[in-house]
């Protein structure tokens, strides 16, 4: 609470500073720049029998500062405070009262020093680094984990990525296209344990994944996050460049990353007898190392007013649980802990289309953008008899090839002041989502958004796990 009050006082001092109303706050001849926003979210369930059932209310204050020490040295700080109040429906599900208060402890979101030399940029500190170009789901974008507890994958990713402490070096490679670079990443393992992997909302809270079937016995669950220290650090390298072929320019990148798998595997440690509960399953959630070699490619097909994007990552020894009741005996004997490893080929193909024909613009002056993406996971050496599962011990089984297709389009009306959009996704195992939305812009400071998130399908898969999260979201922002 004290931190929140502190931020409010800081905000008051900033907005009461005699700066021009229509500009970034700029002090000391532009060596210090400050801006940010205040935002409120109101989310209402729309699929729990009672329409407009209040789900949660969130308020955020974000302050961003850039402090220029010399021409080549810059300190960037992003502070964020969030308070959240859950609706009655959620509380009934037993979400800890103080769960969302924890968000506020994460007040320093990003804090890094950037030093530039000709052709070389060094960033050290807590930050986000992004590889890849996909929307909704990640293929190459695996450096920072994501906090899905806010609004799953539907929020701007810069707001829900979990920043990590790291050293990030970019060496540009001069060429006539201005596209060549080599990047190095090193995470020394000083992040809090929970910040190294994806975070999900607890059962019952908005955007919690659908609970799996009940266990036959009580479960004693413990989570083993990756530890701190150099040996638990992560690192990666990426090379980017461009080549020309058949009259087109192809941008590509090659990358290798050694980090942590974003989600856990369940480690079955046996059954013990509790004096009160009787037989109890001793289950640990543990995170495995990720070794990913990947590549990306994109090119423009101007004749079709399109850009094609391809991304692929080969995951070595990715952990998967298997169904201990349905897997064959050999699997169960060889892997008594309940999980095994498989190599995974994960790839995506995206097609962005910005057509100029009048009928694709829906009455707008500006072209709409239409984007369709195909995501596929292909398990190498897949064995039906092993009956591996998708996510940390939850059904359904992971098939050799899993496919998700996404689509979105957005347009601009009234000189950008009204921006409608529509997104949809389909998991071929039987679930889908559709998300109509509209952004409104008023003057320099006010922004509003209305969005409805609809999910359907009973399957426990990439989209179906969000069924029962149909929600209307209203967002109001004052930026300064």
């Amino acid at each position: 609470m004290r931190k929140f009050l502190g931020l409010m006082v800081l905000l008051f001092l900033l907005v009461s500073h005699p700066f021009k109303a229509s500009a970034v706050i700029s002090l000391l001849d532009g060596d210090i720049k400050l801006d940010g926003y205040m935002r409120t979210w109101l989310q209402m369930w729309t699929d729990h029998g009672q329409a407009a059932n209040f789900a949660d209310f969130r308020g955020t204050l974000q302050l961003e500062g850039q402090f220029k020490f010399t021409e080549n040295t810059l300190l960037v700080a992003i502070l964020r405070g969030t308070r959240e109040s859950l609706g009655n429906y959620s509380r009934k599900q037993g979400v800890p009262d103080d769960y969302f208060d924890e968000n506020f402890d994460d007040c320093v979101r990003e804090l890094y020093l950037e030093i530039k030399y000709p052709g070389l940029t060094i960033r050290a500190g807590r930050q986000q680094v992004i590889w890849g170009e996909t929307d909704f789901f990640r293929t190459a974008d695996i450096i920072n984990p994501i906090d899905f507890s806010w609004r799953s994958f539907l929020e701007d990713w810069q707001d829900i990525r979990i920043p990590n402490w790291m050293l990030f070096i970019t060496k540009e490679i001069p060429d006539s296209w201005g596209r060549g670079a080599m990047e190095f990443i090193w995470k020394p393992g000083i992040d809090d344990a929970e910040d190294v992997v994806d975070k999900f909302a607890p059962t019952g809270a908005p955007w919690a994944i659908r609970p799996g079937p009940p266990a036959p016995l009580p479960v004693a669950l413990s989570v083993e996050y990756p530890g701190k220290g150099l040996t638990n650090g992560s690192g990666g390298i990426r090379y980017l460049n461009q080549f020309s072929m058949l009259g087109r320019f192809f941008n590509y990148s090659l990358n290798y990353y050694y980090g942590w798998q974003e989600g856990p595997v369940a480690d079955f440690r046996g059954i013990y007898i509790d004096p009160v509960l009787g037989p109890v399953i001793d289950l640990g959630l543990k995170y495995k190392r990720a070794r990913v070699i990947g590549a990306t490619l994109n090119f423009s097909i101007d004749e079709l007013e399109s850009v094609v994007r391809v991304e692929a990552g080969y995951w070595k020894d990715r952990g998967y649980n298997f169904d201990t009741n349905k897997a064959d005996l050999r699997t169960r004997l060889n892997h008594p802990e309940g999980f095994l490893t498989k190599d995974l080929l994960r790839y995506s193909v995206g097609w962005d289309w910005t057509p100029s024909q009048w009928w694709t613009k829906w009455g707008s002056r500006q072209a709409w953008m239409y984007s369709i993406q195909l995501f596929q996971d292909f398990i190498i050496d897949y064995d039906e008899d092993e009956y591996i599962l998708r996510t940390a011990g939850y059904p359904p089984r992971q098939h050799e090839l899993e496919t998700v297709i996404t689509f979105f389009c957005n347009g601009h009306y009234w000189f950008d002041r009204i921006q409608p959009g529509f997104a949809a996704g389909y998991d071929i195992r039987g679930s889908w989502m559709w998300i109509p939305s509209c952004n409104f812009i008023y003057g320099d400071h006010w922004r509003a958004k209305i969005e409805w998130d609809g999910f359907n399908g009973k399957k426990y898969n990439n989209i179906g796990y969000l069924s029962s999260n149909d929600m209307l979201c209203l967002k109001l922002t004052y930026q300064f």
Binding site: K20, V24, Q128, A181, D352, T354
Partner: protein
């Protein structure tokens, strides 16, 4: 009687002298002078008058286009007269035109092998030549002199609603690097590249918060290929490749199309035709000061003293207009372009379009574009190059306009910046 006759003579002499000194309703053709303002209030009175302006100008009505007169009479455009001030290209540019100008030959729509200078010196263009329009437009594309490289550390878009006034603002940064027609910064006159590059452009937005960090980069070729386009999206913090085919789409929420930048910014090969409509004396907005946005002022009216933000339709420039020779070109875009035609008025000395009228597909008047030319010494040698100090593109159908005014900060041929500055990675570095 002789006494009375003498009095009458004295009175007549006074009347004649008074008329000369203070103006007279009997006068048929009076001279306007620098500083006089033409507006709808005095239009009927001044339209037949002349303004020499040190140029041997002409009758006001004849030095304005019908669309400018319509704006004066119906849309509160005010024209403050200024005497002619000669602009000469930097000596190196003149020498390049002497060396290379007139040595090029059109091949259909194409102008292969361009190196430097004005390709077809204006005096060599014969209005009767069926290719005169094409020669003139190649002059516009290649001949304008805005430095070998240029950085605008800050510019401001003002979005204006024709009924309610200022709607919102956007601030950005802008930088260009040119590979052809280089006159000062080595290598000159051409920076050879294996891929026949023409220019690289960087654009970053810095205000307001929701677009801060949005950056765009365009890599343009010196042939009819589409440019390569990249955008850095801060909301997802990544660089995204964009399709470059929609070169005739609006730039964001502005009233300006991509090929409206600097009034004309498309490869001529992409257009259907160009017609040369002649050379005429016109009043145009040139030799403006280069500080038109006083960003340290608090109020919006004080920040933009060169914009008439108080008077409907709130978008007219408060510029100075001087007489100069202008070449008029009618540009005929392809059938899928939003415009059916675009008429551009090119200042002969600056080789830069400063006025433009755009017509919709039905042939009806749609937009008017005012640009103010402003010569500014470059940072390293003090050579004067001409940049756009302001621009007002006004949509008379939707009653909306986008205007920009530059603060003092644009830098021509800046020190310490080379081609290496223009990389896609720069987008991410700038997009904090």
């Amino acid at each position: 009687m002789s006494w009375l006759r003498q009095k009458i003579w004295v009175l007549m002499v006074f009347l004649v002298m008074g008329s000369i000194l203070f103006g007279s309703p009997f006068k048929l053709s009076a001279q306007l002078k620098e500083g006089d303002i033409i507006s709808k209030d005095n239009w009927e009175q001044v339209k037949g008058q002349t303004f020499d302006g040190g140029f041997g100008g002409g009758k006001i009505e004849e030095m304005l286009t019908p669309k400018l007169i319509e704006q004066i009479v119906n849309w509160n455009l005010k024209i403050r007269l200024k005497n002619y001030q000669r602009y000469e290209f930097p000596i190196e540019c003149q020498e390049l035109t002497k060396k290379y100008g007139g040595t090029y030959k059109l091949e259909g729509k194409r102008l292969p092998g361009y190196i430097a200078g004005i390709p077809f010196p204006w005096e060599t263009i014969d209005p009767k030549d069926p290719k005169a329009g094409w020669k003139a437009i190649w002059n516009v594309l290649y001949g304008r002199q805005i430095g070998d490289q240029m950085v605008t550390p800050k510019f401001g878009y003002v979005f204006i609603d024709g009924k309610r006034g200022v709607e919102r603002m956007q601030h950005g940064e802008w930088a260009n690097y040119y590979y052809k027609n280089r006159s000062k910064v080595p290598p000159v006159p051409v920076h050879e590249t294996p891929d026949n590059l023409y220019s690289k452009n960087l654009l970053f937005f810095v205000y307001p918060y929701d677009i801060r960090g949005l950056g765009m980069m365009a890599i343009k070729y010196d042939d009819d290929r589409n440019q390569q386009s990249y955008a850095y999206l801060r909301s997802v913090r990544r660089i995204r490749r964009l399709s470059s085919a929609a070169w005739m789409d609006p730039i964001g929420g502005t009233d300006q199309l991509y090929d409206d930048q600097e009034i004309y910014d498309a490869r001529p090969e992409w257009y259907d035709d160009f017609k040369y409509l002649g050379r005429k004396k016109m009043l145009i907005t040139r030799n403006l000061p280069y500080v038109l946005w006083k960003e340290d002022e608090k109020g919006i009216y004080e920040q933009f003293p060169w914009m008439d933000l108080r008077t409907p339709p709130f978008w007219q420039p408060l510029s100075v207009w001087e007489p100069a020779w202008v070449h008029v070109i009618e540009c005929i875009p392809p059938s899928y372009h939003p415009y059916s035609k675009k008429i551009i008025y090119v200042d002969e000395e600056e080789c830069k379009p400063l006025l433009s009228e755009m017509y919709d597909r039905k042939g009806e008047f749609w937009k008017f574009f005012h640009v103010g030319g402003s010569p500014k010494p470059d940072e390293q040698w003090g050579r004067k190059f001409v940049l756009s100090a302001n621009g007002h593109i006004c949509d008379y159908q939707k009653m909306h306009a986008t205007a920009w005014n530059n603060p003092a900060s644009f830098v021509i041929n800046p020190k310490g910046i080379s081609e290496d500055y223009f990389t896609v990675e720069r987008l991410r570095a700038a997009g904090k």
